[in-house]
């Protein structure tokens, strides 16, 4: 009996053990994430898969304060797992865990394979944090050691930008100096800008032909300095139009530009003594949508056949579509933008093009006011600095590369530090 009982007991315990193993295996297969989301550095790993357990975690994990910020970022640097390979890698990425004080670890980011640093910008100043990073495979994760506790610090002055400050100070100082000199009555020479000289002729042509002038101020809003530059030129253009009793139409892509444009044109008409000729209909809002705006403006060009088109401001892919349509209706076109990629299109399709800085110089040039002309002269000091630095840089690089002169390499390194400010 006892044997029988013992056999029964042995059978029962065998079945129980098999059932337990069966349940564990089923649970293991059905809920793979339950073990892959380990929330601590202890290796709660793949368990049965010994091949997976052999993956190496990352090493040399260091948490350091991100310099020159408001105490709101910590930087993590590490050496990736030695199993992190380009080909046949079992690693699918890294998961960053953060512990705030003595709190529980929380996953804050997942990074792709090959990552070796992470900037945590979700920390609070004066709080204490530590981190660890898990190396992820398809079915498991392998935590690294924890970093030492660290607290983000605030810096009051960004010393990395010291050189930038000095350069900005030199250029701004030169601008202010020449503005003061011009105010004292000193004559300043400014070279002729063909595109701006042609404004009167272009408006005159529109008057003679009895056709309107179309002014397009780009597709950006008032927070773009190019739009502001365009509006300063609009002041002069609309003043000439008011004097010549011609017509202007300005379709815009931004509501604020519409309001500002109306204000500028209204003032010009008042200054010309023709406030009655001004109408709000001279400036119309079309749409914020880039190509919707282009379609509308192209339609206006084809229907109204303006004699003169001004394309001044921030332009993107629409630059050539607008300029070519203007060209096809026989308009004289004056364009200007500070987007180097769009300049070739304007040069190919327009009669006059204000290249980059000429757009910003236009208001000073057109007003002829000494203070504004002085600012252009100050700008030239910046150009002189740029030319000197480039010449020195080219010479230093040539000598350092060709004759391995260490002194020249030092100059080159110094220039790199000065002009590689973040």
């Amino acid at each position: 009996m006892s044997f029988h009982r013992g056999r029964t007991s042995s059978l029962a315990s065998g079945l129980t053990a098999r059932l337990a193993i069966f349940i564990i295996v089923i649970a293991f297969l059905v809920t793979p994430t339950s073990w892959s989301q380990a929330d601590g550095p202890d290796p709660v790993l793949a368990g049965s898969d010994s091949a997976l357990a052999s993956l190496a975690p990352i090493t040399s994990l260091v948490a350091e304060d991100n310099t020159y910020d408001n105490g709101n970022a910590l930087r993590l640097i590490w050496v990736p797992s030695i199993d992190d390979r380009l080909i046949d890698s079992k690693i699918i990425g890294y998961r960053v865990y953060r512990l705030a004080g003595a709190g529980e670890p929380r996953a804050i980011a997942e990074l792709p394979p090959g990552s070796n640093q992470y900037l945590d910008e979700t920390v609070l100043r004066d709080s204490v944090y530590s981190y660890y990073i898990s190396t992820l495979s398809e079915r498991a994760e392998f935590p690294s050691n924890r970093t030492a506790a660290i607290s983000p610090q605030r810096e009051w002055i960004n010393l990395d930008r010291g050189y930038l400050f000095l350069i900005a100070l030199a250029i701004a100082g030169a601008v202010i100096y020449y503005v003061t000199v011009a105010k004292r009555g000193k004559k300043l020479f400014v070279r002729k800008i063909a595109g701006l000289e042609a404004i009167d002729d272009a408006v005159g042509r529109a008057t003679e032909m009895g056709r309107p002038v179309l002014f397009i101020p780009g597709i950006h809003d008032m927070d773009d300095v190019q739009t502001l530059a365009a509006l300063t030129i609009l002041g002069r253009v609309s003043r000439t139009i008011a004097d010549y009793e011609s017509k202007i139409f300005m379709p815009v892509a931004r509501s604020l530009v519409m309001t500002a444009g109306r204000e500028v044109i209204k003032s010009s008409y008042q200054a010309a003594g023709r406030p009655d000729a001004y109408s709000d209909d001279m400036v119309n809002y079309i749409t914020d949508e880039q190509f919707g705006y282009v379609a509308a403006v192209d339609g206006i060009m084809v229907r109204e056949k303006p004699a003169t088109v001004f394309l001044l401001g921030a332009f993107f892919a629409e630059s050539l579509i607008l300029a070519e349509t203007g060209n096809s209706v026989g308009a004289i076109q004056i364009a200007g933008t500070a987007r180097p990629a769009q300049l070739p299109f304007f040069i190919a399709a327009c009669d006059f093009t204000l290249i980059g800085e000429e757009l910003f110089a236009a208001s000073a040039y057109l007003s002829g006011e000494p203070r504004q002309l002085g600012s252009l002269k100050g700008q030239d000091v910046g150009k002189v600095i740029a030319m000197v630095v480039m010449t020195v840089g080219v010479i230093a690089l040539t000598f350092a590369e060709a004759w391995k002169i260490e002194f020249m390499q030092d100059i080159l390194d110094r220039l790199s530090i000065i002009f590689s400010t973040n």
Binding site: R161, V225, T232, R254, L256, Q290, L320, P340, F360, A386
Partner: protein, 225 residues
Amino acid sequence: MRQLVPLTITFCVGTLLIVSVFIPPLGDLERTFTLWFDIIAVFAFFLGGGNLLRVHINKLRRRKTDWGFSIVTLAGFSTMLAAGLFKIGNPGDIATAVDAPGSMFYTIFDSVVVPLGSTMYSLLAFFVASASYRAFRAKNREATLLLVAAFIILLGRTPFGLMLTEWVPDSFSLLQIPNLAIWIMNSPNLAGQRAIMIGIGLGVISMSLRLILGIERSYLGGDNA
């Protein structure tokens, strides 16, 4: 007074933003001011939208030329406005994003606005051809130079360019057309672009200073406002 208030705001904001570049605790100011600008721009949209409605309703009422297009504009405007405001067809509740996939707003945008935009963009191919034809006519020395450079770059980007100069020995590899094209893009072209960029950078500094110091005020309506 109409100029004093905006000039004061410009001076304060401009100065603060310059200072914030060098003082990290003020680093978030740029984001804050951008947010404020966006809020103001949203209010200004009522002006823009109102203007659009006024212009097209007037056009319809007076039966001006092509008034039929105004019906399309007004219908499109009203439909998108209603779809966005009332979140018509939005999956989920009112808290979901206005452009959530499946919503009427998303559907119209994706199946009407995007293809129409692409259509306009595709016109660029034809305009590039016509503009290139004019630009590359060898009218003078500069235009001839431009033509030659463009020809080399066009050839260099095709297998034919490689085929033509494959025989050139490696010691003269720069003379192989693909390498010549790379050299033109990386040396003379990049140098010219950088010169323009430096000029633009200095122009922006000068213009910004004029705006901050109130020397330039024509964007406010000049001195007559």
